[in-house]
Symmetry: C2
Subunit: 414 residues, 2 copies
């Protein structure tokens, strides 16, 4: 039963709404220091997780990639500590005035950002995620309930204790802002608290994301699949196409922003060269309409020759997961049309789809990438963890005066 | 079966992404002119609806208020035509660059607004809504599927024909951008097309909104209930409290932004005067904890005396529908704390809750008021009908160069 955790996190959420940026930064500094001071304890806990996972690996219950992601070493630890410290330098995204409008004399309306509130984050067995999400939550003023992959339970637990200990040393910071739960039952229960939880961020397999989308009324930030496209237009340059397609496919084949389908204009002259280049570099090419919705997560891609730009746009709007799609062309008009009409979070011109990432976009870090248009869209960093509220300041004005015509709005932007 | 309508609207949606503002404005002008030219036909159709509804009214199947809202007269028609023309003057909210960042030399990222896409709008039997929503959709570049209250079927149908006729006269405007469906079965079918419809906006009873929220995976923009609060602080002035509370309750008691619960600081000196003033003006006062979650939609309100500001904030965060809550106080610090910590879309100081409205906020018009924090929040006008996408412009850059340290991001805001 995690009801008590949720009620307590809900209290913290209200306190966080008015927390000073200095207090948040102090909390981040304290967290980074306490992790630094307790490295050995963390490595010990991680060792336990690794031992348990080695058995799972030998039984083929987890992949080598999962095992490697679970593993902490000095380098990863240093990056994690640096990651927390880096968030101190980022702007506090909450309580920012987006605009001010005078509705009438002394009746002032402000659109102001505010933290979202209480966020549930469900993530894979990657210990670096717990510090990254915690840092973003602390800085944006959101309370979080974290649930990590069970293979990392020991590591997550020690990180959680260290974070709690750090937060309890910061005057005015509600340490119940950061919470950790463990079981699959906890997830199910969490998904039922739509009255308390404002947003769920699932990170992990398509299956996990789909399960969550289908089992909660809470808004879900994320994406179930990453079917990204590259369109090589008639005027594209050979070297640019070869290099971008290879990078988009092989730089990290299991990433959500790696390319799955390459569309090539029928008049593009270097198709054979592209095929040869990819094959030589270990990429398998499939030319079969049955694979248009396929996310390979491997060094395989679908290739299709299209008649023109319109066919490319239509194909992408039909099969894309609205994540990231790129056009390679020397024709500016075509690039502009593609970027306007492709209905995806990220639309690129002459670059690799792999650039679609919070760090690369300069967001400091990201909590996930959203393909939902009614939520923050694309890589979601600090800014995406805030919403806005309207503040209206008056001196006793009533609506009846305006409804009856005794007064009139003048709506002047300040 | 509305599948064909949805597929056709989906094609229109892509065309709308790149439509010029002038074309949208021409469409709005043409719609307003065609309505003007066909007024008599509209009155005739409306007369039929009114005759049918008169029977329903006599059988107590609809309320007098519903009957009145259905009725069109010269004044209402003039306002509707003016409403469409007014949207021409509003800024086009799509394709606006929100910020530009140089990630590296010649690798430029832009965050740009874009229409949401295809929106389903389900509304009550109010003919003025069809022109208002159509105007906002046309200007923001969204395709819409409209379903109006069945009592207005004849009126809606003639408006739809006129709008279609107007749009077909505008070169380049896809007339399948605006669609009308009729039956309750159509709603059910619409809710299942989460692959095609980007957003549902239900306007109407709590029951309708809840039905929709519970029966679709499409994001829903709206609010099921409107439980708004006023907190009269210790330092509030008598006349201001009396006037704001009366306006908030009686100016339009069935509106979602009318006040339901008034919280009064225990040291506020004029509580008896407030009670007397409200009673004299026909407002019934209930003092019973069972009513804290009650939306009266009538000239009745719940009254509660609270110990202090914190109790008021906690009460509101527990019982408010996160719509609109107002504090009346001469203490600026208290006002600021209230406005930070009350977790609602609209938080007001020294004004009536009734100001929470798209027209009054200067949005021109509104499609609804959203209490969902993961969507546009508060009154949603043109701006709330757009989302953003990221556009990245490069000259062949690949991620591997950055991952391997051969190049470095410099992230400069332009």
């Amino acid at each position: 039963m995690i009801k008590d955790i949720i009620l307590s996190a809900n209290e913290a959420k209200i306190k966080l709404f008015s927390l000073d940026t200095n207090v948040k930064n102090e909390a981040l500094l304290k967290i980074s220091e306490e992790i630094e001071a307790n490295k050995e304890k963390i490595f010990e806990a991680n060792k336990k997780d690794l031992e348990n996972s080695k058995v799972l690996l030998e039984e083929n219950k987890i992949t080598k990639a999962t095992y490697n992601r679970l593993k902490l070493d000095e380098n990863k630890m240093r990056d994690m500590i640096k990651g927390v410290k880096d968030v101190i330098k980022l702007d506090d995204p909450s309580n920012k005035v987006l605009w001010t409008r005078e509705l009438d004399e002394n009746l002032i309306l402000k659109k102001v950002t505010s933290p979202i509130g209480l966020i549930g984050v469900i993530f894979e067995a990657r210990p670096d995620v717990i510090t990254q999400i915690t840092a973003l939550a602390v800085k944006s003023g959101n309370a979080v309930i974290l649930k990590g992959g069970k293979e990392a339970d020991n590591t997550n637990k020690i990180f959680f204790e260290i974070i709690q200990n750090a937060l309890s040393k910061v005057k005015d910071f509600p340490k119940n802002a950061v919470n950790l739960v463990f079981s699959h039952e906890d997830i199910k229960e969490m998904l039922s608290y739509d009255d308390y939880i404002d947003l769920i961020i699932p990170r992990g397999s398509n299956k996990l994301v789909q399960f969550i989308q289908n089992n909660t009324k809470i808004p879900v930030l994320g994406h179930a699949s990453g079917i990204c496209h590259i369109f090589a237009d008639e005027s594209a340059e050979k070297d640019v196409v070869n290099s971008i397609v290879l990078d988009s496919k092989t730089q990290y084949p299991s990433a959500c922003n790696s390319v799955e389908t390459v569309l090539v204009h029928k008049n593009y002259k270097y198709l054979d060269e592209l095929k040869k280049y990819l094959t030589e570099n270990g990429v398998k090419i499939i030319e079969n309409p049955d694979t248009y919705s396929k996310e390979y997560s491997d060094t395989i891609l679908t290739l299709k020759v299209v008649e023109n730009l319109d066919e490319a746009i239509n194909h992408i709007n039909k099969y894309s997961s609205h994540h990231t799609d790129s056009i390679i062309t020397n024709n500016k008009e075509n690039a502009e049309k593609f970027m306007l009409m492709v209905d995806s979070s990220c639309v690129f011109h002459n670059t690799s789809t792999r650039f679609s990432d919070g760090f690369r976009f300069g967001f400091g870090a990201e909590v996930g990438i959203s393909t939902n248009k009614a939520l923050a869209r694309g890589p979601v960093g600090l800014e995406g963890l805030c919403v806005y509220k309207y503040k209206l300041f008056g001196e006793g004005q009533i609506v009846d005066d305006y409804a009856k015509g005794r007064k009139e709005f003048h709506h002047k932007d300040l």
